[in-house]
């Protein structure tokens, strides 16, 4: 297995598997967040369930965190290896003549997503873990009501944060516009010129980030 992970194709495949896992997670995250647009109660009860279910908290959450770490660490490992594969660069290099900006700059969109994940952890994950496991309050309540919806609404009040969220999701969209089909191609499914995979990829890569942007703008606008 360590041999597999040090081979170029092994790395590619592990990169793609972690990415597909992240895309499934993101879809699930989106569906839950979207409930906040039409039902405060539903959003609260799902959040409470996700935040207190043993399987989700102590099995799925660590797997997710490891998945994210694996993906970005491997992303940087590959980027360094790739840069080192050309000792002397070209004086003139016309990348746009034969490939998309997105495909050539996965590390830039990826780094922006990483920064966003940092902010997101600071905004939601650290307070959540502090409340539950340090202060020991697993009731999910504040002043007799569930706190999740309130916390969400509160976060989307400052304009700077809403703008930052929207920008991050645009970069995520760019990451996925190339990444979706690329992940299947890496796994051995000829995807880069496959219309069906490309179309599903475009729907996912534009739809999901746009959905998250909509949720942020919605709460900013109505509260």
């Amino acid at each position: 297995m360590s041999g597999f992970l040090s081979s170029s194709i092994g790395r590619k495949i592990s990169m793609s598997l972690s990415a597909i896992f992240l895309m499934v997670f993101l879809l699930q995250h989106f569906v839950i967040n979207f409930t906040s647009v039409f039902s405060e109660d539903l959003f609260n009860s799902i959040s409470h369930f996700m935040g207190n279910n043993i399987l989700i908290q102590f099995v799925m959450q660590p797997i997710l965190i490891l998945g994210v770490i694996f993906h970005f660490v491997m992303g940087f490992v590959l980027e360094i290896k790739n840069r080192n594969s050309r000792a002397v660069g070209y004086a003139e290099y016309d990348g746009s003549a034969n490939s998309s900006w997105m495909s050539r700059n996965m590390i830039i969109s990826g780094a922006a997503i990483l920064a966003f994940i940092g902010l997101h952890f600071y905004d939601f994950w650290i307070p959540e873990i502090t409340t539950k496991y340090i202060e020991g309050d697993t009731s999910g309540m504040i002043n007799g009501n569930f706190r999740y919806y309130e916390e969400l609404v509160h976060k989307f009040q400052p304009l700077w944060r809403v703008v930052l969220y929207c920008l991050s999701f645009i970069l995520l969209s760019l990451h996925l516009l190339h990444g979706f089909a690329s992940a299947f191609q890496s796994l051995g499914v000829p995807s880069m010129r496959n219309k069906i995979i490309k179309t599903i990829g475009n729907i996912y890569a534009i739809g999901i980030p746009l959905g998250f942007i909509f949720i942020a703008l919605y709460h900013f606008a109505i509260h």
Binding site: S7, I9, K81, N82, N84, E92, A97, R104, L187, R193
Partner: protein, 248 residues
């Protein structure tokens, strides 16, 4: 037409190298790019200067030796051609043309525009063949039925001329299009399937050893490949590689 050429000159693999500009006049638009280079070299020789060293052999797009990175693209601005098939009509009078060697750690510069692509040979030697007992009892290849579709795909993969444009053009200097083509041309045929698992494992191991980068599926290689080798070959190689590691 009159042109300014900005050409990479480097005395040896040890030399640091740098660009030198040359003016060249009265180039016919019907000339091939290499013929234009010949004219330049004639002038340099007449002036007692060293001609520009570049690889070339067949001059008809089949040997793959004419490696040049022209105005930011492998084999220049045209599609589906090698440098020897590139015509001067793709340029305009007064143009400044930048000519660099193919760049990759696994393709070190020998002199000027000539690079050492023996890393490709070593990848081939690691598995790009079939072992046949030639002691007189071979089966006629035509006795084995092969679906037309497979034969066509194998033939398409086999058109790779090992020019290295895929590596030169890839932002990661990845050789996966070349290796994907070489793996596929055997993997698709019954004669090649026999040693399929060992082949893909060994060729990929050699590719990694040579210091080529990793594929990000940008697709630049496919666009610049003079033979139109498809990215599907990379997917096939990945599939076969996983099969060779985890398959029974």
């Amino acid at each position: 037409m009159n042109l300014t050429l900005k050409i990479w000159r480097q005395k040896s693999s040890k030399d640091k190298g740098g660009f030198v500009e040359y003016k060249i006049a009265d180039i016919s638009e019907h000339m091939s790019f290499l013929e234009m280079m010949d004219v330049l070299n004639e002038e340099l020789i007449t002036k007692g200067e060293e001609p520009v060293v570049f690889d070339h052999d067949c001059r008809e797009g089949i040997c793959g030796s004419c490696s040049m990175f022209i105005n930011g693209e492998a084999h220049g601005p045209d599609r589906g051609v090698t440098t020897c098939q590139l015509h001067m009509r793709k340029f305009k009078d007064g143009d400044k043309i930048t000519i660099e060697p193919f760049r990759a750690k696994a393709f070190p510069v020998i002199k000027d525009l000539m690079v050492d692509r023996s890393s490709f040979d070593r990848i081939q030697q690691a598995g790009g063949f079939i072992s046949v007992n030639t002691s007189g009892n071979t089966t006629d290849a035509n006795a084995i039925l092969i679906p037309k579709e497979d034969a066509d795909l194998a033939m398409d993969a086999a058109t790779c001329i090992g020019c290295g444009a895929c590596v030169a053009t890839c932002k990661n200097s990845s050789a996966m299009l070349f290796v994907g083509a070489k793996v596929s041309q055997y993997a698709l045929l019954p004669q090649g399937k026999v040693e399929g698992k060992e082949r893909v494992k060994n060729m990929v191991a050699q590719m990694d050893l040579e210091g080529f980068g990793n594929c990000t599926n940008t697709g630049a290689c496919e666009v610049e490949c003079p033979k139109g080798i498809s990215l599907d070959n990379i997917a096939r190689m990945n599939r076969n590689y996983v099969g060779s590691i985890f398959g029974s």
